[in-house]
């Protein structure tokens, strides 16, 4: 028993190294003093701020990609989270055949490969909805479409665990249906809604396929699209710096969410605190 367990811990350790070290090396090379992304030539901030043309701070194409990614991510949150949360509540309580159909359609984006959705949206925007230009508007619609299902799944899971009793109590005490939702259900849904925000944010800035299919050239490149177009050409470590910023932003969003949620749990007498907050965000049972 003992021996086998040692083998397993070795495999797990090796996997952690394999999965994380390449990324750490890529981050490290953003601080390389030379132009190479493969040979270390000493530490410098040249590719972050120093170089007047090619650093992340000064290269307009890198800055554009960063801004595009952030605008898309924030826009996606603003549309997807309210629409998705309402859809989740509606579907959970509506329960007719029509609701079952919507529910079924809602699960389809989860199993549709992005290339299928990207190609279908591109062909639709160029043939049918020609009023919606490629670039940011089309990309925003694409991002909302693929992340809507995540929000519905996340919010519904919380609705199921809450049950209908809180709302019924509010109704018995004289609240209208809308009041019961606004004053009772919505506050109870806070963890799921915050988790939805961070999930939408992460999946939006991570997305490559939809952004690429629906982009309208260099002006609407997002960070993943920029990495894709630049990586095999002779690009500099500034590209690594750009990718590093995105990783940092993801983890900052995650950390911020965990802090906000654990505060919320604390204030509302939740027992889980930090651990519960992490579990809410990552949708896992820690």
């Amino acid at each position: 028993m003992r021996k086998r367990s040692r083998g397993l811990s070795f495999v797990t350790g090796a996997y952690v190294v394999w999965s994380l070290v390449p990324v750490l090396i890529a981050v490290l090379f953003s601080f390389n003093d030379g132009k190479s992304r493969t040979v270390w030539q000493g530490f410098s901030l040249r590719w972050w701020t120093g170089d007047r043309q090619q650093s992340l701070l000064h290269d307009p194409t890198l800055r554009t990609a960063l801004v595009n990614s952030l605008v898309l991510a924030l826009g996606s949150i603003l549309i997807t989270v309210p629409v998705g949360a309402l859809l989740a509540v509606g579907l959970e309580r509506w329960r007719t055949r029509a609701a079952a159909t919507v529910n079924w359609v809602n699960s389809l984006p989860l199993v549709t490969p992005e290339i299928v959705m990207g190609a279908a949206l591109l062909i639709t925007f160029t043939n049918l909805f020609t009023g919606i230009p490629l670039g940011r508007p089309a990309q925003l619609i694409g991002h909302v479409t693929f992340s809507l299902s995540f929000v519905v799944v996340t919010v519904r899971a919380r609705l199921v665990s809450l049950g209908p009793s809180y709302e019924e109590a509010a109704r018995d005490l004289g609240a209208t249906r809308a009041q019961a939702i606004r004053l009772v259900l919505l506050p109870l849904l806070t963890p799921a809604i915050v988790a939805s925000c961070v999930i939408v944010f992460a999946s939006s800035i991570d997305d490559f396929v939809i952004s690429s299919f629906l982009s309208a050239g260099a002006s609407s490149e997002t960070v993943p699209v920029k990495i894709y177009s630049a990586v095999r050409s002779s690009s500099s470590p500034a590209l690594n710096a750009l990718a590093t910023v995105m990783v940092l932003l993801s983890f900052m969003a995650l950390a911020l969410t965990v802090v906000v949620l654990s505060r919320w749990q604390h204030r509302h007498g939740g027992s889980g605190g930090f651990r519960q907050a992490v579990a809410d965000v990552t949708q896992m049972d820690l």
Partner: protein
Amino acid sequence: MSGQSSPPADRRIFWPGLALPGSLWLAIFFVVPAYTIACVAFGQVDPIFRDAVPVWNPLQWQFSDASEVLGSVVGGPLRSVFLRTSFYVIAAVALSLIIGYPIAYYLARQEGVRRTILLALMVIPFWVSFLMRLLAWVNLLEPEGLASRFLRLFGIDQQWLNGNHLTVILGLVYGYLPFLILPLYASLERLDWRLIEAARDLGASSSQAFRRITLPLSRAGIAAGTVLIALPMFGDYYTNDLLSRSPRTEMIGNQIDFFVNASSQKQKGATLVLVLALFLALVMSWYLIRLARVRREAS
């Protein structure tokens, strides 16, 4: 409750009202595009500009061009692309299971802080952009990259980034393995370990106990994880583009990307999208039917 038989009027419109914006969104931006793809695939081609012209009425759909593409997939030049894609995905999923299962098993047997830390390490790749992770490997595998130089010490000298099958398969494993480990972990974590103790007490060797108890009980997790990573792998083209960019390793996704984005034959691209979606729908329904059967047997 009497509300069931004759719901009050406000109830009949209230819940559907909440669901309305989201339902409309899905109808307009998911269902309509799915239909549009079919209208382009079975539509016409402009005789002068060779552009695809969608035909909106299904009664006027033509299937001659689409069946030509299908013929190419079954017995023509696209056949090798489809077979290669299937081979890559099967190899990558098999490798992912071989690597991922022991890790998930190990995680499920840990407790307390140690388990939390290990799980956090497993979750980190989710929060690092897919393209960033590919970029990291491109840097390592370039001729002067660290991994290339390291492997050369052992006499392994290869062009990793130019049409190398192994690089593409390992790239797929690297990209999607995190998505397999967590569902596997979830199914193993729920497992009743007393059953294994009982088997051991009754004289089963540890490998017998594993084969006859652990493995069958985690079959649902294996199937779910497999479907979860196989579906996106079938549509993947960027892993291949970044790590190889050679016609020798071309996958079906690369063909779709080419026809839809870079050629004037959008119709062909639309047909390939339909072929891929249909193929994956078959895989998915096979999985759902099996799942239903397993559930029925269990209950």
